[in-house]
């Protein structure tokens, strides 16, 4: 029987939640194809993470361990998983599309001369052939992509594409098998240091009830003032997409997205933000989303309750005026 193998991700024994979303993807594919699902937990001290994964409905869980895997390195992970796959072949290998996976999974796939389809949001089984869907051109298009060669096939799964709470539990815990990864000491060429956060942040956007968020559509730094007047009229906080912070127009602590803050305000007002996935993951949990964008096809509208199609440079001042009027009347 063919195997779908999920390579889960943990740090300090704590599992990345996208691991469970990836298990859901694997369980669905396996159910469609009549395949079985196995999972790998890789790292140093991972017994409890492996036990947590083993609660899911899986045929087996492998703990791939070595003292050289205690701290993540691309060299270490790729070498360990390459030798693992030589012992335990799989047809389809799924990873969560995290920063860490982006760092080693392509290397692992190419070391086996196999391609990898990155950042998929879904799959189809078309007359027996597996086809994976991924976004292209900044989410303006979706592409159905297939593999041309022989398995194993490597696929990374975008966060939020499957619901982690749908991961099926097993009737009893899946068996856990320990695989010691024999790594030569010369295999790891990079020396990682401990991870850290930058100095304490002055603003905490996670507590804000209303957020006015600015994207590149604001065009010029001086136009930020109209956004901050709108935020003031709403009693909200100002935030931004990455390019605005990259340009130094707003401090990085106001950046929303995968490398910034994750927020869930009552209202998220997106001004001139296209809606790239790395931005959406930071604001998808907002209760209401209003997006103002001149492009009716902008992907941000897919997560918006209200899509305002138009020029923000005209609409924002008008909206601020209207809010002031409304306040004066109240």
């Amino acid at each position: 029987m063919s195997t779908v193998l999920v390579i889960t991700e943990q740090r300090d024994g704590k599992l990345n939640r996208v691991s469970f979303e990836t298990i859901v993807a694997a369980q669905k594919i396996a159910a469609d194809k009549g395949w079985m699902v196995q999972a790998v937990v890789i790292g140093g001290d991972i017994a409890s993470a492996a036990a947590e994964v083993a609660a899911k409905k899986l045929e087996k869980v492998y703990q791939v361990t070595s003292s050289k895997l205690a701290q993540y390195t691309a060299d270490g992970y790729a070498a360990a998983l390459k030798s693992f796959l030589a012992q335990k072949p799989a047809t389809l290998v799924l990873f969560p599309h995290t920063y860490q996976v982006r760092d080693f999974a392509p290397k692992l796939a190419l070391s086996l001369e196999r391609p990898l389809i990155s950042d998929v949001i879904g799959y189809k089984s078309e007359s027996g052939k597996l086809v994976f869907t991924r976004q292209m051109f900044q989410g303006k298009f979706a592409a159905d992509v297939s593999f041309t060669g022989e398995p194993p096939y490597f696929v990374t799964v975008q966060a939020g594409s499957f619901r982690g709470d749908q991961a099926e539990n097993g009737a009893s815990a899946a068996p856990i098998e320990t695989v010691n990864a024999a790594l030569e000491s010369s295999a790891v060429r990079v020396k990682p240091h401990d991870i850290y956060k930058e100095a304490k942040q002055a603003v905490d956007l996670t507590q804000a009830e209303i957020i006015v968020s600015v994207g590149r559509g604001i065009k010029e730094q001086k136009n930020l003032e109209m956004a901050s007047k709108l935020a003031e009229a709403l009693g909200g906080e100002l935030a931004a997409s990455r390019p605005i912070c990259d340009a130094g127009w707003l401090p990085i602590e106001r950046q929303i997205g995968s490398s910034g803050q994750t927020v869930s305000p009552k209202l998220y007002l997106a001004l001139g933000i296209s809606g790239a996935i790395q931005h959406l993951v930071g604001m998808k949990g907002s209760r209401s989303v209003i997006a103002i964008n001149k492009d009716p096809e902008a992907p941000i509208f897919d997560v918006a309750d209200i899509a305002v199609v138009g020029n923000l440079l005209e609409i924002v001042p008008a909206l601020t005026e209207e809010l002031k009027k409304a306040k004066a009347e109240a």
């Binding site: 990079v190 240091h193 991870i195 209202l267």
Partner: protein, 256 residues
């Protein structure tokens, strides 16, 4: 240090993209620009050269239009360019692109190769890592800061949710560069003039074909994604739009 910077030309962010007739790819008749992270990769390379000396070489693989990104890079201060020219380079998967670039530079001895962390059009996020594997070099991704330290480098790498990590990296290495690490420079008039006399090596598909092999991925279909959420659209003159939004805020969202 001798640094190679991989630069891709991509459709402009605001370009209204259209599908071709067979629904397998986009039409070419739009405006193009430099892939944004690649501009940061070039900036970092130029700063390294200013600090530590050496040479900055830029490379792109693409059709005739793509030459423009090399011209811009030379005008900003790159020393020379390698141009893999041909329509065959459009739509390649990352492994094929990485193999083509590696083949094009096999007689050079770079200390460092920079790529952007991801292309804005395909979004594969793989080419740099694969290039390292083809070259047999170590790599690291999503790099924000690079300092020369002894024989190697000290790197600052971005992790998710506001975390960072420093790494010690030997040379030679491949690094994929994140946006925002530096402020980007503009080309000066003098730079634009000097660029005209800088060397550009041209290579064709046939020069690298043997090393590339066949695409491991096939794009079966490209299409406009289905919308999942029921979104209400508001359009019209700004004042009217503003009134409607405030009405929604008050009566439906109840946030006023």
């Amino acid at each position: 240090m001798k640094i190679l910077v991989c630069i891709k030309q991509v459709p402009q962010k605001d370009a209204p993209l259209k599908l071709n007739e067979s629904g397998t790819w986009v039409r070419e008749d739009v405006s193009y620009e430099v892939n944004e992270p690649d501009a940061y990769a070039l900036e970092e390379a130029l700063r390294q050269k200013e600090k530590n000396g050496g040479e900055v070489v830029v490379i792109t693989a693409g059709p005739a239009r793509a030459q423009q990104v090399l011209r811009e890079a030379l005008a900003k201060g790159a020393d020379r360019a390698i141009y893999l020219e041909g329509d065959e380079f459009v739509g390649l998967d990352s492994a094929s692109t990485a193999k083509a670039i590696a083949a094009a530079v096999k007689s050079e001895n770079f200390d460092l190769v920079f790529t952007g962390l991801q292309s804005d059009d395909y979004g594969y996020a793989q080419t740099g890592v694969l290039l390292a594997e083809v070259l047999g070099w170590p790599h690291s991704t999503i790099i924000l800061h690079i300092a020369k330290e002894g024989e190697g480098l000290k790197l600052k790498r971005e992790l998710e949710s506001g975390y960072f990590q420093d790494l010690d990296m030997p040379l030679p290495a491949v690094l994929t560069i994140q946006s925002g690490g530096n402020k980007l420079r503009y080309a000066t008039l003098l730079g634009i003039k000097q660029a005209k006399n800088k060397p550009m090596t041209r290579l064709q598909w046939k020069d690298v074909e043997a090393a590339v092999g066949r695409n491991g991925l096939k794009i079966e279909k490209l299409y406009i994604p289905e919308k999942h959420k029921r979104t209400e659209t508001i359009e019209g003159p700004p004042a009217e739009v503003a009134r409607k939004i405030v009405d929604k805020m008050r009566n439906e969202m109840r946030i006023l």
